[in-house]
Symmetry: C2
Subunit: 448 residues, 2 copies
C-alpha cells in the first residue's frame, strides 16, 4: 500500500461517523486545506464518509466526497490510507478499528472509552501491522496534551498529571457557583443547551474523566491500568452551600482527575489515581478554568509544573486534534512508514501494571458537610466522632435553620489527616441519630 500511496499527490482519508466531530473534521479539511498543504507540502484529501444517517444536512461541502453507509467498503477502499473512527462506543468501533488495521490502514480515533478498555489489544495489532493509531482528540479535545506528554516532556520522570478533564461537569460546576442554583437545575439547562447528554451519568459521575485519566497515567508513568481501577466520585452530591463555603475558605470546586507517581528511594513506584470533586486554591491556574474549558497540569522532575488549557470538547476544537493526527500520519505515509513514537509514550515492554497507591494512604485537608437535626449537642457528637479518629478541626460553620428540629448543614474544614481516619469518622457520624443524610466530603488539593 505504501508504495502506491507515494505515487499519489495526496493522502486519502476515510471518515466513519458523520456526527458532530465528524462534521467538524470535514469542515476543517475543507476550510483549512490551504494551510494544511502549506505545512505538509501536499494535500490531505477526504475521499469518503460512512454513516447510517444519510439525511441530516451537515452544512458541509461534500463535492468529490463519496458519502454512503458502507463502512466496510470505506475500509477496503484503496484510495483510503487513513481511517477516522468517530462513531464512539465499544463493539462496533473496535471491530472497525481492527478491520482497518488488518487492511493496512492507519487509524485516528477520539474514542477514549474504547482505548481505556481495549487500548492494549488495538496498539499491539497496529504495531504488528506497521500502522499508526493516533488519538490526540481522546483527551482534552483540541489541547495538544497527549503530544506534549509523549514528546515535549519525554525527558522527564513525570511526577503528576492532574486536571479538569470533562467540560460538561466543569460547565455545571461553574454555573452552580455563579448562579447559586441546584445541581438538577443547572444540569437541565446544560442538557437544553446541548452541553450535557440526555443520560448525563457518563460525565457527571466522573466516568469520562476516569477514562481519560487512565490514558494520561499510562503515558505519564508507563502504568497499564483501566478506568475501573480508578476510585471515582462524581458531582451529584454538591449543593450551592458548598460553593459558597469554598469561596469563603479561599477555594473553588472542580472535578479533577489526579494521577501521581510515588517513587521510593529504591525506585519502586506506586501510582495514585483518583477522580473526585476537589477544592483548588482560588488563585491557582486551575481555578481560573471556567465553563466547558479543560486544563491539565503536568509536573516533571526537570521541567517543573506546566499547564495546558483549551476547549475540551466541541465540533471544531476536537476536529483540530483529529486533523493534526491525520497530518502527522500523512507525513509518515509519504516517507513510506509509520510513526516512530510509541503511542502510549513508553515502549510496549515498559508499559506494565504497577502497584496502586491505596486511597486509604492519602493525606490532606478535607471539607466536610454534615446534614444534622438542628438541636443542642449535635455539633459535639460530630466533633467527638472526628476526635476519636484523631482528626483536627480548622474551622466550623453551622448554618441555623431558625426552626429547631429541622435538618441543617454543619460544615467543617479539617487539618491534614489520613483518608482512612476520615472514612472511619464519616462512617460513625453517618450512623448518628441526629445525622439525616450522608456526609459530603470534598478533598482539598493545596499545591496547585
Amino acid at each position: 500500500m505504501v508504495e502506491k500511496v507515494a505515487d499519489r499527490s495526496s493522502v486519502g482519508v476515510g471518515l466513519i461517523g458523520f456526527g458532530t466531530i465528524g462534521t467538524g473534521v470535514a469542515k476543517v479539511l475543507r476550510q483549512n486545506a490551504d494551510v494544511i498543504e502549506q505545512r505538509l507540502g501536499f494535500p490531505l484529501r477526504l475521499v469518503r464518509i460512512a454513516d447510517l444517517d444519510l439525511e441530516t444536512d451537515r452544512r458541509v461541502d461534500l463535492t468529490d466526497i463519496r458519502f454512503d453507509a458502507d463502512s466496510a467498503g470505506l475500509i477496503a477502499d484503496p484510495e483510503v490510507d487513513i481511517v477516522i473512527e468517530l462513531i464512539g462506543g465499544y463493539d462496533v468501533a473496535k471491530r472497525m478499528i481492527l478491520d482497518s488495521i488488518d487492511a493496512g490502514k492507519h487509524v485516528v480515533t477520539a474514542n477514549k472509552a474504547l482505548l481505556a478498555l481495549h487500548g492494549r489489544e488495538i496498539f499491539a495489532s497496529a504495531a504488528k501491522a506497521g500502522v499508526d493509531v493516533a488519538f490526540e482528540a481522546a483527551v482534552g479535545g483540541g489541547i495538544p496534551i497527549l503530544r506534549s506528554l509523549r514528546e515535549g516532556l519525554a525527558a522527564n520522570h513525570i511526577e503528576s498529571v492532574l486536571g479538569i478533564l470533562n467540560g460538561t461537569t466543569n460547565y455545571v460546576l461553574t454555573e452552580m457557583e455563579r448562579t447559586g442554583e441546584a445541581f438538577e437545575v443547572v444540569l437541565k439547562r446544560a442538557q437544553d443547551l446541548g452541553y450535557a447528554e440526555a443520560d448525563p451519568s457518563f460525565d457527571v459521575d466522573g466516568i469520562d474523566a476516569a477514562h481519560k485519566l487512565a490514558l494520561l497515567a499510562a503515558m505519564a508513568f508507563g502504568a497499564e491500568l483501566t478506568h475501573e481501577q480508578i476510585p471515582t466520585e462524581g458531582i451529584r452530591a454538591l449543593t450551592p452551600v458548598d460553593f459558597e463555603l469554598a469561596a469563603e475558605f479561599g477555594y473553588r470546586i472542580k472535578l479533577l482527575g489526579i494521577a501521581k507517581c510515588h517513587r521510593d528511594v529504591a525506585g519502586n513506584e506506586r501510582i495514585e489515581v483518583r477522580v473526585h470533586p476537589t477544592m483548588v486554591p482560588a488563585g491557582s491556574m486551575l481555578a481560573g478554568v471556567d465553563a466547558a474549558m479543560n486544563a491539565v497540569e503536568v509536573i516533571g522532575d526537570a521541567v517543573g509544573p506546566t499547564l495546558y488549557y483549551g476547549a475540551g470538547a466541541g465540533e471544531l476544537p476536537t476536529a483540530s486534534a483529529v486533523v493534526a493526527d491525520l497530518m502527522e500520519i500523512a507525513r509518515e505515509i509519504r516517507r513510506g512508514g509509520s510513526g516512530p513514537v510509541a503511542p502510549l509514550s513508553y515502549m510496549p515492554d515498559h508499559l506494565v501494571p504497577k502497584p496502586l497507591f491505596p486511597m486509604s494512604e492519602l493525606r490532606g485537608r478535607a471539607y466536610l458537610r454534615f446534614t444534622a437535626v438542628d438541636r443542642p449537642g449535635v455539633l459535639s457528637h460530630i466533633t467527638g466522632a472526628l476526635g476519636e479518629q484523631g482528626i483536627g478541626i480548622e474551622s466550623v460553620v453551622q448554618k441555623g435553620s431558625g426552626t429547631a428540629g429541622d435538618s441543617v448543614p454543619v460544615i467543617l474544614l479539617t487539618h491534614p489527616t489520613s483518608e482512612s481516619a476520615l472514612q472511619a469518622a464519616l462512617e460513625s457520624v453517618d450512623r448518628l441519630d441526629d445525622v439525616t443524610a450522608p456526609t459530603v466530603m470534598v478533598r482539598i488539593e493545596e499545591e496547585l
Copy 2:
C-alpha cells in the same frame, strides 16, 4: 553516517557550552537515562562536552564523557551524531552550527537570538544536508510551545499568538506589584538572585521577547520577519503607581509579545507584531502567571483559545526541552533519516515576508500616566489635547502632592481609540509647559 549509527546500540550526543543549561542537559541525560531509554527503546549517550572553562565544578557525574575545550574535535567526532549548541551569541555559535551541519550532524540549540537573525540560512543549510535543527528550548523554556504550534495545532489558521515570553521581566513586574518598590530596586534584587543579567537591557527592554515573538510569528503565520521589524517597548518607565492604578481598574501589568494575523475577505494577510507592557484583565489566565513563569496563548480558527504555561528559563526546565529535541532526532537517526516536519511549521516556499499591520492602525483602550505640575488648569490642558484628537476619557485619577507646584501623576483611562490619535495627543501633551516628564502609556488588551 546514518548506516554506521544504525549499527550502534545508542545515539551519541556532543555538548558545546557547559554553562547553566548545558549542566542541566548533562544532569537530565544522566539522572533520567532510565525513562529516556524506556520511551525511545535505546539509550542516548553524552559522548563529549566542549567548553573553554574546564575548572568550574558543575556537580555532574562525567564518567565516560570526554570533556575538553576542543569544539572542532567534538563536531568532527564520529561518535557524535547530534551537536547541542549552548554557547549563545551570534558569530561563534553560528559557525559551530554550520560546521556541524556540514559535518552531517544534527543540531539542537536554544539560541533564539541567532535563529531570529540567521534562521533562514541555518535551516536552508540543514535541509540541504538532510539533517535536523531543533530548538524547542528557544521559546518558553521547558514549555513544549513550539511543538504544539507546529504539530498539535497544525490544522488551524492561527489567529493570534501572544504571551509572557521573558521570565526576568515577569519576575520584576510581579515583585514591583507585590512590594510597591521601584523598578531599580527590584531589578537590583533580581540581579543579586541571578534572575537578571548584569546588563539587563536584553530582557527589560523587550529584545529577548521580540526574538522569541519573531520565531512564534514565523511558525504561526508563515511570516518571515526579524525582531528588528517588531515595535518593542520595555518596562523601565513603569512605577509603583501604575501597578496600584492597574489593580484599581481591574488589570495586571505584564510584558506581552503579541502577534496577530489580520486576514481580509480576499485572503490577504497583514501581520501585527509588538512587544510592550500591557494591562491584562485581572481574571484572565495570563494575569495568573507570576514570578519567572511564562505562558503563551494561541488562538486557532478551529481549536479556539489555548494556553501553555511553565518555567520559561532555568537549568532543568530548559534542559527538559533540549533533551526532548535530542530524543526526537535520535528516533529519526535510528530510522536512517531526518525529521519530516518543517522546522518553522511551514514548507520553506510558504515562509515568506508578509505585509505588517502598522502600529498606527491599532485600536484599543489605553492607560496614560502624565507627569504634570500640580496647579490649576493642568488637567484641562491635558484633556483638551486628548479631545482635539477625538480621544474619549473613561476615568481620571489625579494624585495630589499636597504642595502646589510639585510634579504629580495624572492618570487617565481612555475609551477605545486609535494608536495614531494617541501618539498625536501624547506628542502635544508632552510639549505643554506644565508637563514635566514624558507620558507613560500602557496599552490594554481586553480579550484574554
